[in-house]
């Protein structure tokens, strides 16, 4: 009797890249829900432009590269990139900004290097950095969170829609937006206010910014799910948060008036989203356990440095991109000891 052959092994655990990506998308849902609840439905508009754009760019790139588009579209990675970008930009971003950011992320951040698995930089952060550098004003217009403003959800919806279509005037934005916690901190400190004054002036919550603390909590919850499901490992989130909290704790202890504490740092801006969803992108991160610890710690530390010594209110994107550059070197230095090799 004849039989078909194939190489060993003949059994598999049955995990797949699309399933991994799907779980990441699912874990982003709480973040999205909180953002929609606090800042209005702008995020949904951003997703509505980001996701189709990402799929179209992916298909186009595969076509240009002469590859089968179906597998690449099916792996789900481009949806994660698009979702992360949509969550990172302000809900009041005009459609063309998100469109351009996603196109840069997918085409220049991913496919020029050979697509999934070959890109040295986190594609979402490439797109975000391009948008931030090119359109700093549009990127900084965050709406005042719902519970802190004298506004309501329906009017937030209308504002978002106007902003999305690019029909809002600068005066509209002045009325609708407010400084984010990190913005308030930066400008407050520049004007020589103390931390307490800034906190009362700009209405901070118990952890951090009145809105951003909830978004960060949601990201922490989603990230915890990913940890429990084994989709991400603890090394990068833990070391990134430690790398951010440690300098914050030291500087806060030395000069509490000029530096916020570790809790504020970890629940502000993109800290939690970065720790669990962005820095953990395995393609662009260091790959051994020790390497991941070093990589995460580097991102955390650089985030703190950029926040307090750099030119941007938040530093996660640039910290991630910088450490992406360092990942191959970290990998080189942190090869685990192989069984039977000298210690």
């Amino acid at each position: 009797m004849r039989f078909a052959t194939s190489p060993a092994p003949f059994v598999y655990a049955g995990c797949s890249v699309p399933r991994v990506m799907f779980q990441v998308l699912l874990a982003l849902a709480p973040v999205a829900a909180v953002q929609v609840a606090l800042y209005g439905p702008g995020l949904l508009l951003q997703l509505a432009i980001a996701l189709p754009t990402a799929l179209a760019c992916e298909a186009l790139a595969m076509r240009l590269r002469g590859r089968e588009a179906r597998v690449a579209l099916g792996d789900g990675s481009v949806l994660v990139t698009a979702a992360l970008l949509a969550l990172s930009v302000t809900p009041l971003a005009p459609w063309w900004l998100t469109f351009a950011g996603v196109a840069v992320a997918v085409l220049l951040g991913k496919h020029v290097y050979g697509g999934l698995g070959h890109n040295p930089f986190n594609p979402a952060m490439v797109g975000y950095a391009a948008m931030l550098v090119s359109f700093p004003l549009a990127m900084s217009r965050w709406p005042v969170p719902l519970d802190a403003a004298n506004t309501d959800w329906p009017s937030l919806a209308i504002h978002s829609w106007h902003a999305f279509l690019g029909m809002a005037s600068p005066a509209d934005f002045d009325a609708w937006t407010g400084a984010t916690a990190l913005d308030a901190l930066r400008s407050g400190l520049a004007q020589r206010y103390t931390m307490e004054e800034i906190a009362t002036r700009s209405g901070l919550g118990p952890l951090a910014g009145a809105g951003s603390q909830w978004v960060n909590l949601a990201a922490l919850a989603g990230g915890a799910c990913l940890l429990l499901r084994g989709v991400v490992r603890w090394h990068i989130p833990a070391s990134m948060l430690a790398g951010l909290a440690l300098p914050a704790a030291v500087m806060h202890a030395l000069d509490p008036g000029a530096y916020p504490g570790p809790v504020f740092e970890c629940f502000s801006g993109a800290a939690m989203l970065g720790a669990f969803f962005i820095a953990t992108d395995p393609v662009t991160a260091a790959t051994s356990d020790r390497g991941r610890l070093a990589y995460g710690a580097g991102i955390g530390f650089l985030t703190w440095v950029i926040r307090h010594c750099g030119g941007y209110p938040d530093g996660v994107a640039f910290a991630v991109l910088t450490m992406n550059l360092a990942a191959p070197l970290i990998d080189r230095w942190t090869i685990p000891r192989i069984h039977g090799h000298p210690r």
Binding site: A4, P7, V17, I335
Partner: protein, 477 residues
């Protein structure tokens, strides 16, 4: 070892399927096909010719170097031919013997306790002893190396960690006395002071049987160690570390660390050898949903595996794969007309329900799931980059030659990349590259020496000429 995570996989064992019934006996083949390579990768030299009469136990091929094993006739009869045939490890030369059914025997028992250890090692080698664990590595060179390095600790591998395979379990249950006797023989041969029988903790019956046999033999040198029932706990170097705490250094044999590892089946075979029975059979697990009555069989070497399947009630419905070995490291056979070899521990007749299809292949996303399960702590994701880039430096840095090809990385890979197959191919390529380099170096060396010889010759000639000229001038002057 503080930061060493538990490695490997916990896999469904599928062993009860075949291990519940006593060991059966496969019918003797009408024509036995004895592969000259019983699984170690190198063929022995045939010492019979077509037409020769052989008896059970007649040596029909001899070992020519330390990686070959001598082969003995498992049936009495006439040698039909020596020809290339499919074997479980690929096509290779086989000696075909027509069975006359007489089972006439050649038997020469060894007076082993009185035998010099070195002579015992030689006798075990002559009897065709090789590892029963699946690699069929010849036993005598390992024993000799253990003697040379004064290795004092024999570890008998009864872990049998791979799913489906249960021939060692069955053997330990049925012939524990032979395992213990064989342990004593091997200890005498290598000069060991103690022996540990390592058995996975999911085999309580086998453990109890061996325990009883050790007590009956009243040999305080032999102990039993339970090892955890995860895959691949039975891989030689990992088992030695689990049992003795000694991590055998890369690039050395266990004997240099004072250890020797042999399969429990090898020990049982050693007991047979001292009784005067050369290696001519082994226990084979015939299992899977594709066979009617799964079980373990004593099978003579050279028996077609189709005969084994028939002895187990034949195929049920159309099986998907016929696998020599288990579901993780086995080799898919193209035909059931291959003979049993010493390396064939299991014949897995798998239907679609027994196996999992490999999924769609995606690019490596470096998730590191493979590194988490790699029992030798490699980074398969980085090795793969080395393979793709064909960069020998990266491959060496990341320990390509330390890969034991257990398949754990394949099992968990979400991108369904055939990692083990690619590493195996890269290794073969590296070997080719190495031997090409060796040959080039050799040729360059020879050329240089040739040049030196020519130079020396011409120098001598010149000197002889000058001497003669000087002499002639002297006479003339």
């Amino acid at each position: 070892m503080a930061h060493n995570r538990p490695r490997g996989l916990e896999l469904p064992a599928h062993k009860a399927v075949a291990s519940t019934a006593p060991i059966g006996t496969a019918p003797a083949p009408s024509v036995a096909a004895l592969a000259l390579d019983q699984g170690s990768g190198r063929a022995a030299r045939a010492v019979v010719a077509p037409g020769d009469r052989v008896r059970v136990g007649t040596r029909i091929a001899v070992a020519t170097d330390p990686s070959t094993t001598s082969v003995h006739a498992p049936v009495a009869g006439r040698v039909l031919a020596i020809e290339t045939r499919p074997t479980p490890s690929g096509d290779g030369p086989c000696i075909l013997i027509e069975n006359d059914g007489s089972d006439e025997r050649e038997a020469a028992p060894l007076a082993w306790p009185g035998l010099e250890p070195a002579a015992l090692v030689a006798a075990l080698g002559d009897a065709g002893m090789a590892g029963y664990g699946g690699a069929a590595f010849p036993a005598a060179p390992k024993l000799a190396a253990a003697r040379r390095h004064a290795a004092r600790h024999l570890v008998l591998n009864g872990a049998e960690c791979e799913p489906w395979i249960c021939c060692d379990d069955a053997l330990m249950r049925a012939r524990a006395h032979d395992v213990v006797l064989g342990a004593q023989v091997l200890m005498h041969a290598m000069g060991a002071e103690r022996c540990t029988v390592a058995i996975q903790d999911d085999k309580p019956e086998a453990t109890a049987a061996v325990q009883a046999a050790v007590e009956a033999a009243a040999d305080a040198r032999i102990a039993i160690a339970a090892v955890s029932a995860c895959y691949p706990a039975g891989a030689e170097r990992l088992l030695l570390e689990a049992v003795t705490g000694i991590e055998v250094p890369h690039g050395t044999w266990p004997s240099t660390s004072g250890l020797l590892c042999q399969n429990v089946g090898t020990a049982a075979a050693a007991a047979g050898v001292v009784r005067g029975e050369p290696v001519t059979s082994r226990v084979v697990t015939v299992t899977g949903s594709g066979v009617a009555r799964p079980g373990n069989l004593y099978a003579r070497l050279g028996t077609p595996v189709s005969t084994l399947v028939e002895a187990c009630g034949g195929y049920t419905d159309r099986p998907l794969r016929l696998i020599a070995g288990g579901s993780m490291m086995g080799r898919a056979l193209a035909t059931d007309e291959v003979p049993v070899t010493l390396a064939l521990n299991c014949l897995l007749v798998a239907t679609a329900g027994d196996l999992v299809e490999r999924g769609t292949e995606y690019a490596c996303i470096r998730c590191g799931d493979c590194a988490d399960v790699c029992p030798t702590r490699l980074l398969p994701q980085q090795l793969l980059r080395g393979v793709v880039a064909n960069d020998p430096d990266v491959l060496e840095r990341h320990g390509l030659t330390d890969c034991i090809e257990c398949g754990c990385c394949d099992y968990v890979c979400p991108s369904a990349i055939p990692l083990t197959a690619r590493f195996r191919a890269a290794r073969a390529e590296a070997r080719v590259r190495e031997s090409a380099r060796w040959r080039a170096d050799d040729l360059r060396d020879r050329y240089a020496r040739h040049g030196q010889r020519l130079e020396a010759a011409s120098e001598a000639e010149r000197r002889a000429f000058e001497n003669a000229r000087d002499r002639a001038r002297g006479q003339g002057g």
